[in-house]
């Protein structure tokens, strides 16, 4: 059976397969393997950096967990990520819907479209200095403030992503709902929003990646230790880890584990979502 299958199908390109596998293992998995290796080693075994440890020292993880106050940093990051994701999808999709449907009828909505989309040309670093002053004046230098800012700052990109998709939904649907007496809000949340699911998935993935891995915004906005995110905590603790590489790497691995788990389980989804977003853009 196997043979007949092979005959029908084109032959696998084995040299290419092996080349790509070797490169992937050496360049991508190699550094990650080193990270895990250092994380489970005893400091006394560091003389030979890459030797396999004689016994696993899981105490490194316990120490890193306690030292960086991992649970708190994890909950902070999770809060920012989840709240941002939920509110971004609910609100940004609505704004994009209202703009797209009225862009051609009304100058105001046309202006709104260009207003948001042109803001994509303004990188965060450009507004960073005044923003920090403003955020501290408004007492937004905390978890709630930063989450709020993420939702607002995501608007340009997300409106850009959503508009193309909204266009592909026939306006006849809106009109039918309107004739049945539905308000625009009802039309949106009951009829249009469910149809936007594929693009919402993309927006969700991109927002998740952005907030979970972001370093610069927490760095400039969250000065209090209790508000630190996982990424920021690693930066702050860099000095304290000093040359205790095993402790430091245990901490890094603890930060990488959640995202690796997400990747392993939602890998297909994530790859499809990111591709979708980039190609639309």
């Amino acid at each position: 059976m196997g043979k007949s299958k092979c005959k029908v199908k084109e032959k696998y390109n084995w040299p290419m397969t092996i080349l790509l596998l070797v490169l992937a293992v050496v360049f991508i998995l190699g550094p990650l393997y080193i990270a895990v290796l250092i994380a489970v080693k005893d400091p006394s075994e560091m003389a030979n950096v890459l030797s396999f440890p004689k016994k696993l020292r899981l105490q490194n993880f316990v120490d890193a967990w306690v030292m960086t106050d991992y649970p708190r940093k994890f909950m902070n990051t999770l809060f920012i990520t989840v709240i941002n994701l939920v509110f971004t999808i609910l609100s940004n999709s609505m704004v994009a819907y209202a703009i797209t449907r009225n862009k051609d009828k009304s100058k105001f909505f046309n202006f709104a479209y260009y207003y948001f989309v042109s803001a994509m040309f303004i990188p965060f670093n450009v507004i960073m200095l005044p923003l920090v002053k403003q955020a501290s004046a408004f007492h937004m230098d905390n978890i709630f403030g930063i989450t709020f800012l993420y939702i607002i700052f995501g608007l340009p990109m997300n409106i850009f992503l959503y508009t193309g998709f909204v266009k592909s939904i026939p306006p006849v649907l809106d009109e039918a709902a309107y004739i049945d007496g539905a308000t625009p809000f009802q039309t949106f949340y009951k009829i249009i929003f469910p149809l936007m699911k594929p693009m919402s998935a993309t927006v969700a993935i991109l927002s998740f990646m952005w907030t979970w891995n972001d370093f610069s915004m927490p760095l400039v906005l969250l000065s209090e230790e209790k508000y630190q995110t996982l990424q920021l905590a690693q930066y702050v603790f860099k000095g304290q880890f000093n040359t205790e590489y095993n402790l430091a790497f245990a901490s890094y691995v603890l930060v990488l584990i959640p995202i690796l788990l997400v990747y392993i389980f939602c890998q297909k989804w994530i790859i499809a979502g990111v591709t979708n977003g980039a190609v639309k853009a």
């Binding site: 550094p31 948001f116 690693q234 190609v279």
Partner: protein, 294 residues
């Protein structure tokens, strides 16, 4: 046309309720800081205390400042090298992944993995590799160039470049691969019949067909690399000396701690002009070329 003849279609008021609050919020938290930055760039504010408007003094100072020149030279050199390397390597890798290979999805997933990981942590991991792993190999193998920590030398930027390329390739490869997958196999077969194979087939047929994906990657790459921040903060902090201080790192360091709030605001304005200019230029040029090729 329609507008002129038909009656002006009215917009339901609810749509305004959907959009206006967000315009106001966006204006307060994004547009106002942006204009504030421009305004402060014409003052001598240190970030605290009193200030005066000083006209274009910060901008004149900007062009005379050797530290600023060094930062821009480094950032542009870095962004150019990273853009070329990432796009060349990603395109090659994508062609490989597009071949008829076994374990395709697994291999693809491994190459995409770096995109998922925080740049900061990746920077820390490679710090260790450059500092504690490669020098040992270099000494064992007797290779002079590899036996010291590259991040402590004049070539520190190459270490940062390596890590940047390592991570950025994940995204770029994915985009090129999705581009290659849009090319119909029949096109290749037709090309084979016409005798176009290998490199010729790539330049004459494949590349023009995936040109839009090339556009996306070039624009995003240049923009991202000109704003390099996380990896530099993680790996060198801008050093040794100030040799790897990128524009963003300089804005952060001097703007917040160096008492140069106004001066770095001017720097930020110029960074904005460059990023916006490049984005518009690239989109225009690359789109035109695509249209020509089609």
């Amino acid at each position: 046309m329609k507008k002129k003849h038909g009656k002006k279609s009215t917009v339901n008021k609810s749509f305004y309720f959907m959009v206006v609050p967000f315009i106001i919020l966006f204006f307060i938290f994004h547009t106002i800081p942006f204009f504030q930055g421009i305004f402060y760039s014409f003052t001598d504010w240190k970030g605290y205390g009193i200030w005066n408007t000083v006209g274009f003094r910060n901008y004149i100072q900007f062009f005379k400042d050797p530290a600023m020149g060094q930062t821009y030279a480094f950032t542009i050199k870095f962004a150019l090298c990273a853009t070329i390397l990432v796009n060349a390597l990603s395109l090659a890798l994508a062609c490989g992944l597009n071949a008829k290979i076994k374990f395709k999805n697994t291999i693809k997933a491994i190459y995409f993995l770096p995109y998922m990981l925080g740049t900061l942590i990746i920077g820390f991991v490679f710090n260790f590799i450059f500092g504690n792993v490669i020098p040992i190999w270099g000494q064992k193998l007797g290779i002079e160039a590899l036996s010291t920590n590259i991040l402590g030398t004049n070539h520190a930027w190459l270490g940062i470049l390596f890590v940047t390329v390592w991570q950025a390739m994940a995204f770029n490869t994915l985009i090129y691969l999705s581009g290659l997958q849009t090319v119909d196999r029949d096109v290749y077969e037709a090309a084979d019949l016409d005798g176009a194979t290998g490199f010729k087939r790539f330049t004459k047929i494949t590349f023009p067909l995936i040109a839009p994906f090339f556009t996306i990657n070039m624009v995003l790459s240049v923009k991202n690399f000109l704003m390099a921040f996380d990896q530099i903060m993680a790996m060198t902090g801008g050093g040794p000396g100030t040799s790897t201080t990128s524009i963003s790192v300089l804005i952060y360091k001097r703007g917040f701690d160096g008492g140069q709030f106004a001066y770095q605001s001017a720097n930020a304005v110029i960074l904005f002009l460059i990023i916006a200019g490049i984005s518009i230029f690239q989109l225009k040029v690359l789109e035109k070329r695509e249209a020509k090729m089609n």
